[in-house]
Amino acid sequence: MSNIDLIPPLLIVAPILAATLPIALGLRYDRTGWSVATITSTGLFAAALALASVVYTSGEVIHTLGGYPRTYGIQLVADEFSTLIVLLITGVAAGVLAYTRRGGPRGNTFYTAYLLLVGGLLGISLTGDVFNLFVFLEITSIATYALVASGDGPESAVAALKYLILGTVAASMYLLGVAFVFMATGTLNMVELSTAIPAAERPVLIQTGFAFIVVGFAVKVAQWPLHTWQPSAYQQAPDGVTPLIAALVSTASAYAFGRLIVTVFEVDYLAAMPNAAAIVLTIGCVSVLAGTVLAVIQTEVKRMLAYSSVSQFGLVIAAYGVVIAGNSETALTGAVIHLVGHGLLKTGLFLGAALVAASYGARTVDEYAGLATDRPIVAGSMAVLLFSLVGIPPSIGFVGKWYIALGAVESQLWPVAAVIFLSTMLTLAYAARLLEKMYFTPATVVERPHARGPVATDGGDADRDDDSTPDSEVEIDDGRAAAGLRGGAARNPVSVGMIAIVVVVALGAVALGFAGGAIAELLEPFLTEVIN
């Protein structure tokens, strides 16, 4: 127990060090990447669980790096809020590996970028220093650019470059904001800042700094109209990568933004700052509406889900606005739960979309016709996840939206409450399109122009889509026995693990829906600390 404060640095250092292994071992052995990544991320998840068991029973765990005092040293802090995000990151990262073993992308360099990404994300969630946050944001971003660019087509390089330019400018904006705040206060530690900011002699500097930080995070979290990098990045990234970045990268940024609002600037100070609440609320609400409307008109499933992320993160940002404007504990609970819930839902949905693309090559909404009869389990899981995204109880999506809406009503911010209810209707509009195609439109073979031919990347075993399509559902029914019997199951583009992970995520989304109250209780000490 005494060494529990070593877990936070270990969570960050272990994946970054392990990131060198796939390349180093790859010089000698092929395909070591998956094993290294699995061992690391399973270990990280176990460490995160151990950390959570301490944090939720006996309060926050703090590690001071190098023993330097926090005025100029760096602290890693695991409290009730950050531990929840750490659990989400390690859990999703470990889960996605179940897909990538068969579904790809393969190759050792992918796993290097994957581990760097996980290290950066855990750094964002655990750091207690605003400049250190910038460094981890950039580590995460660089890994994400590389992952997006590892897609097959040349389009992925264009999408990655667009992301790189916008993402770098955004991170620089954040750094500029930090510079202004540092100028006014002379410290970078989050806890020190929270006392130094109200005491600052020049509030103008703090206001300028906050303005730059808001713009920076509006890009990073992909808020309308600064979201333009996000749909093409999600769409062009390899199928196995999209669940990872869609679920985690923007979530970690949104977490960091929330952390800055509640811990660094503090709610009372921002409430007194002119226009701060109004601006954050407006960004959030506009993104909710714009994101959903754009999602409804998309034809590609991955792109539709990407725009849906714009609107769901809009909800989180709007909730932050409610927290500032109404000092609402309920809205903050909602924001945290929705962050975790949305991360989980998008993992499942993008994994489902990747699975369908791997087996049928179906990428547009129309091509999903008749999926329910061909693949009842995947279609069922995706239906559960979509309903959860809409916010139908009992599911995690409902719990988050419920708390946010409740917070808005309690704070008497009626326009925000209206936007949240309207967004639920609009979410139903695009979710229903997909559901209708899957369940009520009969499949026609002609409508699948993208059906998978002999793809060159795998050395072209051309017969695999012939034998895989009809019998892969059988394989699920017979479970592992069938997979074992077939022996040469490597030809099947869809493995049991790939289907199992989608089902597990769907079940998890429903189970967490029942556990909503428990999560709120776990967060309670943190909430009472930051909101008085």
Binding site: I142, L161, T168
Partner: protein, 139 residues
Amino acid sequence: MVTAAVSAQQIERWTTMIELLTSRYTYVLMFVLLGIGLYMIIASQNLVKKLIGVSLFQTSIFLFFVSMAYVEGGSAPIVPPESNPGELLVASPLPQVIVLTAIVVGIALTAVGLALVIRIYSEYGTLREDTLREVRADE
């Protein structure tokens, strides 16, 4: 009487402004650089020039940090060899350390960006954004 008071106030404002420009000219310079960088990112059609703009944008922020840390008459923040050096006036070391780290981050980003540009060039045979848009629209 009233006009005289206003003009006195105005003169005072102008002198503070001029004072600010002469003593804090690095800040002004930094925002000019920031603007140039942002303009290059938006207006330039050439992808490499866009990246140069990004780099310039970042560098201006580094300069901001460094000039913020400057203390008039202060020396470099190095621990002197004497055991008891007495009163020392040094520049703040923290922003300089920050800038060192940020420079490393910036280089990594530029490298990744240039690698992407090379890939785009080998795929599409162009570095211009407008040509790139046409080529992609044709496909």
